[in-house]
Amino acid sequence: MTWYVLRRVLQMIPVFFGATLLVYFMVFFMPGDPIAALGGDKPLPEAAQARLREEFNLDKPFLVQYFLYLANIFQGDLGSTFRGQSISGQLADAFPITIRLAIIAIVFEAVLGIAAGVISGLRKGTWIDTTFLMLSLLVIAVPTFVLGFVAQFVLGVQLRVMPVNVGRDPSWENLLVPGMVLGAVSFAYVLRLTRTQVAEVAAQDHVRTATAKGLPRHRVVSAHVLRNSLIPVITYIGIDLGMLMGGAIVTESIFNIPGIGFHLWDAIRAGENTKVVTIVTLLVTVFVIANLIVDILYALLDPRIRYVSKS
């Protein structure tokens, strides 16, 4: 098990280099000249352009830029934005906010999604199942930004139970609604996934046996049905953590939350290569770690899966 985890961690190294190189490559060949655009419709003086290009290594060829970037990273220097602010400082401020947002979304989708899915799956075909299915269809069909603006308008502008500008004070309490908006679509998927799995497992022989030998219903559901039907759901939620961090762009922009999504969007718009690469690399790392945790959870949920070192 330890060996397995170690091997997986070592695998992250090529993933890190591959991701940075690929993203750097894509950002480098994005159309347009970010420096010339700094002045809007006004021309930027040649001297000012030259100073900025030199400062941000934009006057050098692709590979040189990339290696300078890597060299700086390994010295713990993530560089600074065009406006002279330290990127590491910005990310240190932004990451906790987005993580808070993602945790709310994950808890929301996991707890409510699984609960609703289990109820739906056990009572397949009843009115409550139909209601949940309709609800999930609706959530999947409505784009996140519509959901966000509706929530903002109703709860923020009309009822005034939450601030419109959550970025002012991104506390757990204020992030509740944005987190639910962010997790809404995943909630629907988790619900549907759980429902299908539970319905399938509940019809299997070992569940019938468990019921027949007189186990109380809650034991049957928790030990026999749930445990066997959760593996795909856990996989989905694990991968979703990475998705949520990236998907936060829309939600964070609607509620004006200065998180990772906002910084990523801002950096793409401004053409700040190093910032884009740094953020995307961090997101990739989160994604990979989340996957690793999911794989370890498999073993706990299903004793049949064993990680043994080949000797």
Binding site: L38, K42, Q90
Partner: protein, 527 residues
């Protein structure tokens, strides 16, 4: 953490404002460090105009009012003697002297410093010697001389009567010694001499300003401070204002353009802005050169139904141009001879086009390039459809993914056909529209004359207008010069926009100035 939070939901109290209440305003994140010689976009400028007091500031109508200037004297519009008021200090206690101005201007102009506002100093004698990228960092402009603590002399390269008007622009502010000691640290925590001082700048969130008690100029704050809140989406800012979380909004989001006047009533603001939208066509573009090209430009201009586009696409937030400037600055006219070329006339458009065809057939198709990240598609398509219908030519929009790439293609002269552009005046002067866009000095990559319009006759008139001694005379010549532009149409004026803004019922005395900024200091807010 921030003062604005406590103000939510309080309303209904009568009477005037409180001297302590902090007014919240929407803003975009500054794209450069907060340095006067190095800020070019509104996110930074909105903050800086409140932190600094230059020689002049602009009132609501764009007239210059004296800030630090005691007197600006000149006999020939070329040699100026500037005296500043005594007893002013920066917020760190350092006195503001003539040297503070001269140092700032020399720093801004010096190419080694690469400041984005350097071109504001190009009319000062000696600019050419210091503006190169490899200039000696300690080199200074020969046109600036400090006489004593309160007096300095400025010599320009040529007579320019609008030079004093320019001095209200942020780039001409004084800088304290603290800046030169640590430029980088200063850019994050600037020290000024204006009506407000910076309390904190939380990146991507807000910049909080409090009243500077030592300020003694004309912009005496009637409120307790300003809080510039960064919004990623104007939609959110508008909703926040409706809910009482934001006091003043300077941009109404596109989705609320048609409804904001009903929703806000007399708290909705609409006023011509010092901007103009137009599209340019390079003077050497094969289809648009010579006599045929001139006729073709005129035909196209006459085939554009500006009024309908302004009404239906912009919901009246823009108005058709009648000249090459905006009504927000002095000298705007609706009666310059030849301006009928900016009016929709199908028959005349057809006639002009056929005349051009007789000289040289059109290769086509007509393309109008725009950046897709700026909601231009609708009006571009409207214009192209109009050209198709009226002139019977093939016309289509050509979209660039973002502003960066459009800008690169225009400055690199790789673009063909027409391309959209717009101009926002830096200071309220007609010549700030005409010079940078159409003078030979700004052509061939030296400025914003991206269509390389070079007309000696026009240049001469600009020069004459700038050296005129009376403002009236100067404006009259500027209008005459525009007659040439109306004939040649290097750029085809479309419309000028109105600032669409609004404010919540928590604040009063909200007025917007010529430059579409609220007049910050006079806003009052109930506590």
């Amino acid at each position: 953490m921030t003062a604005g939070v406590g103000c939510r939901g309080r309303r209904g109290s009568d009477g005037g404002g409180s001297a302590d209440a902090v007014v919240t305003l929407n803003n975009t994140e500054p794209q450069n460090p907060l340095v006067t010689t190095n800020s070019i976009e509104m996110g930074g400028i909105n903050i800086l105009v409140n932190l600094y007091s230059g020689l002049f500031s602009y009132d609501a109508e764009g007239a210059a009012q004296e800030e630090m200037a005691e007197s600006v004297e000149t006999e020939d519009s070329q040699h100026y003697t500037i005296t500043i008021k005594d007893g002013w200090t920066f917020t760190n206690g350092d006195p503001v002297t003539a040297q503070s101005f001269v140092d700032a201007w020399n720093h801004g102009a010096n190419g080694a410093n690469g400041q984005v506002n350097s071109y504001f100093f190009e009319s000062i004698e000696g600019y050419a010697d210091v503006s190169a990228e490899d200039a000696d960092p300690s080199a200074t402009m020969s046109g600036l001389t400090v006489v004593d603590d309160l007096t300095f002399e400025v010599t320009l390269v040529s007579p320019q009567s609008d030079f004093p008007i320019r001095l209200g622009y942020i780039a001409y502010s004084p800088l304290p010694q603290a800046y030169f000691d640590d430029p980088e640290g200063f850019g994050q925590a600037p020290i000024g001499n204006g009506p407000y001082r910076l309390v904190e700048w939380n990146q991507n969130q807000n910049a909080l300003l409090e009243v500077n008690p030592d300020y003694s100029g004309p912009r005496k704050p009637a409120n307790g401070g300003l809080d510039f809140v960064v919004y990623q989406d104007p939609e959110t800012a508008y909703n926040d204002m409706l809910s009482g979380g934001l006091d003043v909004i300077d941009t109404i989001p596109a989705s609320a353009r048609s409804s904001y006047q009903d929703e806000l009533g007399d708290r909705a603001v609409s006023k011509p802005a010092a901007t103009i939208a137009f599209f340019g066509i390079h003077m050497e573009d094969p289809d648009f050169t010579g006599e045929a090209g001139m006729l073709r430009r005129q035909a196209i201009s006459r085939a554009i139904d500006r009024q309908t586009i302004c009404d239906t696409i912009f919901h009246g937030t823009t108005s058709p141009s009648t000249d090459f400037i905006s009504p927000a600055v002095a000298g705007h006219s609706e009666s310059i001879p030849g301006n009928e070329v900016l009016q929709y006339d199908e028959a005349e458009a057809k006639r002009l086009w056929e005349e051009a065809e007789a000289i040289q057939p059109f290769q086509g198709p007509f393309t109008l390039s725009y950046n897709a990240d700026g909601s231009h598609q609708e009006w571009v398509e409207a214009i192209c459809n109009g050209l198709k219908n009226v002139l019977g030519i093939e016309a289509q929009g050509n979209s660039f993914p973002d502003f960066k790439s459009l800008r690169e293609a225009t400055t690199g002269r790789t673009i063909t056909g027409a391309f959209r552009s717009s101009w926002v005046a830096d200071y309220p002067s007609m010549y700030n529209f005409l010079g940078p866009l159409y003078s030979s000095a700004a052509a061939e990559g030296r400025g914003s004359n991206n269509w390389d319009y070079m007309n000696p006759e026009f240049d001469e008139m600009l020069q004459e207008g700038l050296s005129a001694t009376s403002e009236e005379e100067s404006l009259r010549i500027g209008q005459q010069a525009q007659e040439l532009l109306l004939r040649d149409l290097p750029g085809i004026p479309l419309w000028f926009s109105s600032v669409s803004a609004g404010y919540a019922d928590t604040v009063d005395n909200v007025e917007f100035n010529w430059g579409s900024q609220p007049i910050y200091y006079q806003i009052t807010k109930q506590a």
